[in-house]
Symmetry: C2
Subunit: 139 residues, 2 copies
């Protein structure tokens, strides 16, 4: 199979480019791990869609299914490291949405209580990178 060079954004959107997947991730981040909890907290998701997305997320290594009862079979879904990494994406969406649409929810730092943004950061130089300096390059 000739592996085509694909934009990482397009790759990511193959998995999370739909209405529901990131809402599921949001609630898994909140600690809702069971089917029934997700069904209640992910606003109006049809159970068939929830089951399908959890399967896709499991295939992608974003969640792991852990069976906490064998009879009857009962599973819960836990985010992997890869899954927790999506938290920043969810955070970025929340930050953007709050800034440009009125909303009753904010992301805050639990310690200082202040509102948060999501920004670019260079781990090597240990400083922020303003958007104007960001480029997407081949390597």
């Amino acid at each position: 199979m000739p592996r085509t060079v694909r934009c990482p954004v397009a790759n990511a959107l193959d998995l999370v480019g739909d209405k529901w997947t990131l809402l599921i991730v949001r609630d898994l981040l909140r600690g809702n791990t069971r089917f029934s909890q997700l069904r209640m907290t992910v606003e109006g998701i049809p159970p068939a869609v929830l089951a399908d997305r959890l399967r896709l997320l499991e295939d992608a290594g974003v969640v792991v299914r852990r069976q906490y009862s064998e009879h009857p079979p009962r599973s819960e879904y836990l985010l992997t490291g890869k899954g927790h990494g999506l938290g920043v994406v969810v955070g970025a969406l929340a930050t953007w949405s709050e800034k440009y649409a009125e909303s009753d929810l904010t992301l805050v730092d639990h310690e200082c209580g202040h509102g948060l943004n999501v920004v670019y950061h260079c781990p090597t130089c240990e400083r922020r990178a303003p958007r104007s300096r960001v480029r997407m390059v081949g390597r």
Copy 2:
């Protein structure tokens, strides 16, 4: 109309929760402003979908349509401030995708040349907020 309190993430996904919209934003960020350019660079997008999404983005105030020729009617699409704000979401997706899937593209700081992450930042304290301290709260 009874305005229900909605999660900002869900609000954002109403607009950008699909396969194409963030790819269009990505290319507008790159400076591709015309229909024909987007059609070529947004990998295989059907023109009907492109036209539809540009309409939705315009309605949402993410892009403005500027007519650069009246006869024949020719428009280009420019990101507003709100639209540029979505850059961080695109960046977060790219960063995540690179970290957890192999890819040939990276986000770098144009100045120092180093790879970038997307992180939480408290503008009041001027410091980063680790993911563990981030909470979503009502205000």
